[in-house]
Point group: C2
Chain length 654, copies 2
Amino acid sequence: MRTGIATVCLSGTLKEKMQACAIAGFDGIEIFEQDLVTSPLTPGEVRTMAADLGLTLDLYQPFRDFDSVPEDLLAANLRRAEAKFKLMARLGMDTILVCSNVATASIDSDDLRAEQLGRLAALAEDHGVKVAYEALAWGKYVSDYEHAHRLVEAVDHPNLGTCLDSFHILSRNWDTAPIEAFSPDRIFFVQVADAPKLSLDVLSWSRHYRVFPGEGQFELAKFMGHVVRAGYSGPVSLEIFNDVFRQSDVERTAVDGMRSLIWLEEQSAKWLDANAPVLAAAGAGTVAGFAGAGRRRYPMELATLPQVAEPAGYNFAEVRAADPKGLETVLGQLGFEFNGRHRTKDVQLWTMGHARVIVNEDAPVAAGSTADAAPALTAAIGALGFDVDSPVIAAARAQQLKAPAVPRKSQANEEVFQGFAAPDSTEIFLCQGSPDGTAAWTHEFGEGLDAPAAGEGAVIDHVNLAQPWQHFDEAVLFYTSALALEPQPFAEVPSPTGLVRSQVMATADRAVRLVLNLAPLIQREGDAQPEPSGTGARRTYQEHIAFAVPDLVATARACKARGLEFLQIPANYYEDLDARFGLDPAFLATLQELNLLYDRDADGEFLHFYTATVGSVFFEMVERRGAYDGYGAPNAPVRHAVQYDLMHRLNKTT
Amino acid sequence: MRTGIATVCLSGTLKEKMQACAIAGFDGIEIFEQDLVTSPLTPGEVRTMAADLGLTLDLYQPFRDFDSVPEDLLAANLRRAEAKFKLMARLGMDTILVCSNVATASIDSDDLRAEQLGRLAALAEDHGVKVAYEALAWGKYVSDYEHAHRLVEAVDHPNLGTCLDSFHILSRNWDTAPIEAFSPDRIFFVQVADAPKLSLDVLSWSRHYRVFPGEGQFELAKFMGHVVRAGYSGPVSLEIFNDVFRQSDVERTAVDGMRSLIWLEEQSAKWLDANAPVLAAAGAGTVAGFAGAGRRRYPMELATLPQVAEPAGYNFAEVRAADPKGLETVLGQLGFEFNGRHRTKDVQLWTMGHARVIVNEDAPVAAGSTADAAPALTAAIGALGFDVDSPVIAAARAQQLKAPAVPRKSQANEEVFQGFAAPDSTEIFLCQGSPDGTAAWTHEFGEGLDAPAAGEGAVIDHVNLAQPWQHFDEAVLFYTSALALEPQPFAEVPSPTGLVRSQVMATADRAVRLVLNLAPLIQREGDAQPEPSGTGARRTYQEHIAFAVPDLVATARACKARGLEFLQIPANYYEDLDARFGLDPAFLATLQELNLLYDRDADGEFLHFYTATVGSVFFEMVERRGAYDGYGAPNAPVRHAVQYDLMHRLNKTT
C-alpha cells in the first residue's frame, strides 16, 4: 500500500512538515495549497526537497468552487485552474483535487456540471494534469460520492477521475459497497480519515475533529476493502483536520499518522480475508472483475504485521521513586511482601498474590524527556509489564508500528525484556507469563520469600495513567494496534479542576484493563504545578494502580490494622449512597468505618478504597462482585475532590 | 433582581465556591448535589458558612429520574426524595429541583405523571419543601417547558411549581411568550444560561458549552422580559456547565458570572421598555394581570446602570518597553513624529495624523499579575484609550460591572484618566475626545510639535489583542457590557501552531474595531516559550496595532525610503493572488515590490502591510477602499507563517 499524508495534518512550516513526513516513512504527500502559498520555498525548491527526501508529491489540493456556475464565473475558474496547472508543472505534480462547489454554485444541472468538468478535463489534458473530483459531504449540489462518480462517467475523459475521501462518505453514512463497481481507472485518489461519532454539523466535525484511522469510530477497514476490490492501487493518503494535531509536535504527529496507516493496511487485509467467501457467494464476479478469493490477487499489495493475541494479564507494574520509603510503607500496609532487591539493579520486588510491584529507585524521569521538562517527583508509575504469548513477536509488531524501543540493560543470565515507550512515555514491557501466574524473572531478586507470597487471589485489576492532552488520540491507537487492547466507551468525570475524560482500554476477557485519563488542560491559575507539556508532563497528575482482592472488607480491616492511611471519604457520601441504594445499615456502617466506596449496577457490585498519594502515585483496592465491569465512576468525583482538597491544603502550608 | 449561581458553574471545593460567590456579590446560590456529596463540610457547617457569607441557599439540585416510572421504582424514588428532604432541613433549604425523567421513564402518561408528582408534592409538604419541576430539553417524555407547566397545573398543589431554565427552552427554539400567562405562584425558580449557536446534540451542547448571559447568542433579555411580566420575583440564577469555567480561577469566574447578571438585568429592563407599548396594544391586560406600561410596575425590581454610547474612536494606544529603542525606530520609520516626553512620567508621545501611540518605558508587566508570572518582554501593548462622551459615567458603569479600576498616578494640572483592567489585563482608559480629533492631554508632553503632526488622515484602524483561552468568553462580555462594543461573527485562521480564533468587537460605525485573538492552547512542544497561564500570559503571543492611511502605496514607499523592515511576503502568495483575482500586472508588481497584502470582496478592497516584530508587538498599515469591512482574513495565514518562521529561526540561533 502506498502511504501518503496531506500537509494540512501537521504543524509547522512546509519544510518542517516535509521533513517530518520523510522521517515517519511516508511514500508521498499531498501539498495543501495554503502551506505552499505561505512558504518562502519556490516551487522548484519544494520539488527538489521532496526528491531529496524520497517523497513523491501525489496531490495538489484543494481547488474549490469550480462547477455549477454561470459562464462568466466559469471562465474565471478556468483561468484560475490554468494558473494552478502551470504551478503544478514547476512542482512536478500531475494530480489536483477539485472539490464539489460549496460557495458559488448557483445552477443545479448535471448536464451543465458534466460540460464544465469536461472543459476542465480538456484544459488539464493540455497541461498533463489529472483532475480528481471529490464530493464534499456539504457540497451544495454534489455531496454524494456516487453522484461525483456519475459525473466523471458522464464526462468520460482520461484526465478526469474521482477522489474518494472516507470522511465525506462515512460521515454521511453512505453505503461503501458501490465503490467496488467503480473502474479503477476512474479512481484517481483515496483519502482516509477517521472520526469520533459526533452529532455536530458535518462541516465543523470535518474541520476540527477528524482523527487518524483507528482513533475514531468509522468502519475504515470495510471502506478500504471495497476500494481494494475495485482494483485501486494508488496512494492511500491521510487528510486529517484536527485542532490538536495542528498544535502538536510535527514529527510525533507524523509518526502517529504513519502508525495509523500501517494498522489500517493490516485491518483492511483482515477485512478482505474475512469477507471474501461471503461476497464470492453473493456473486463477486460482478464486482470489477475480481473473483474475491484472497487479497493477494488485488492490484494493491497489503503488507502484514506480526500477529499477536491480546495480553493474558499484567505481569508487573513499576513505580519509580528516588526515595522509596513512602512507597515501601504503603505497600507493606496494603499487604504486599518484600521479595528482595534485584541482584544487579536498584530495584525492589513487592508481591501480593499474583500482583507484582517493582519499586525502581531511579528518579522518575520519563524516557525521552529532558531532565528539566519533567518535574521532580517523589514517585511515579514508570513501567508496565504485560504477559504475552511471544514477547519477541509482540515486540516485532510494536516496532513495525513505530513504537520507540526501550531495551533494558541486563547482565548475563538475566531475562531480557522487550520494551517500548507508550505515547505518554510509560515503558511497556512484554513478558512471558507462566500458566501458574508466576514470573521467572522474580528469581533474579535475592533474599526473597521461599514461601508463596501472602494475599492469595490478589491481582492487578487495572492501571490508571494520566495522559497529556496532545497525545490522547495517539495513545488510543497505540494500545489498540501494538497491544491489542480495545477502546471502550469513554466517560467524563467532574473534578474540582475540570472534567476528566476517562478512556478504558481492555482485553475482551478483562484480564487487562488500562484506564487513560485525560486530565483538565491546565492546573487552575495560581496553582504551583507546572502545566503539562512535553513528554514527561503527565507526571504532574495523580495516577494509580488498582489491585483486586476476593474480600475487600477483610483486606481493608487488615490494612487498617497495619496502619494504612486511607483516603478519607466524607460522611455526606454515605448519606447519599444510602439515599440511592437503600443499603443494609450494618453494611453501610462498615463501608463508612473503613472509608470504602460502593457502586452497583445490573451486572453486580463494586467495593473499593484508595490510599493516600505518594508523589503522584496512589493505590486502589477493589472487589468485584458478580459481573460488575466498571470502575466505580459515580465515586470518582469524590476521590478527585478529596485528593484536590488534600493537595491544596498541602500547597497552602508549604 | 435577586442574583444566584449554581455551584456547578465554578471550580474548586464547595467552600472555595461559596467564598467566591460571596466575594462576587451574589445574593444566593444553588447547591449542586455533587458538590455537597464530595465535601467534608457537614450540612450544618454549610448552612452556617452560607449565613456567615451572607448567601441564601436557594435551590438544592438536581433530583433526577423521578416521574413516569412503575410503582416499585416510584416507591424507591419517594424514599430517595425523602432522604433529600431531610437533608435539606439540616441545610435550611426549602426548594429542590426535580428534572423530567431521562433515564428510567417507561410509562408515557400525563395522568400517571400528575399522580406521581402529586405524591411527591404531598411528601414535600410534610417536610416543608417546595418542588420545582423542570423539563429537560432531552427529557424522555417531558422536554417542553409548557408541558412541565401543564403538569404542575394539573397537580395544583402549593408545594409543586416549575423551574424555567433558559437553556432548556431556547436550545429547542421554544417560543418564550407563553411564560407570561403562567401564574407567578407556579414559577418556583428561574435559571439563566446563554450558549453559542451550535449544531451539536442538545445534551452535549448543554453539558459543555453553556456560557454566561451575554457570552452567547440566546435572546435572554426577551426570555427575562416574559418572566418579569409573568410576575416572577424570585432568584435569577446562573446554571452554566462549561468545560473552561470548571477549570478557571474560581473568583474570576464568579465575578464574570455576576457581571453577566448585572448586564442581563439592564438588558431585560431595556427589552421591557422597548416592548411595552406593542404588547399593551396587543392586549396586555390578559397577561398575568399586568398593564404592561413600564418595568417599575412589575414585582421584580430591575436595577439600572449608567448609560453610555459606544466609543467614538481610539484616543491612544500605549506600548510598554523597558528599552524603547526598537519601538522608536519602527514608529519613526512608519512616519510617526516624536511629540516629546511627558513632563512627570517616563512616557513618550508619538503621533501620525490622529493616531497617537504612547511609549511607556515601564517594563511590560501586566496589572494584576505577579512579576514572575509575566515573562520578560521587550515590548507589549499595555493600554488602550477610548474616546467616550463622559469618562466619569463610563467609568461608573464599568465599575458597577465589576471591572477592576486602575487609576493612574497623576500630578496637579494633569488629566486624570478613568481606567480599568480588561480580562487579559490590558488597561482600558476612558478619555474625552475633542471634536477636531485632538486630545487635551497631549499638552502634558513637553518639547513637542507646534505644527500639526505629519500623516494627515491616519487613524488607529484596529487593535489586535491576544487572549488567554480561559478568559476569552469573559472578554467578549466585558467589552460588550462595559464598553458597548458589539461582537461580530468570529473567524478561524490557520497558523503553523494551530487554529487562531479571531473575534472582532466593534462599534456600529466601525470607529472602534478591537480584535480578540484566541491563540492555540500552548506553544508546540520543544518551543522555548512559556505556556499561557495567569493574567500576564497573553504577552507571549504577538499582537498588534493597525493604522489606516488614505494611500497605502505612497505610505509604504515612504516607509521603505525611511528604512522600515517590512514583514517579507513569499512570492508564492502573489502568484496565488493573481490566480484568484487576476490583478493588473503593474499593480501586482507594486504589491510584491512593497510586500503589500491584498484582499477584495463585494464591498471593496483592502491593502495592508506588517512590520517586523518588536518584543511581542508589531504594527500594521491598512488602506480600506470602498466599504471593505474585514481585516484581510485570507492573508492572516501568510502573516502567521512568516512570523513563525522568523521566530523559529531566531530561537534556533539563540
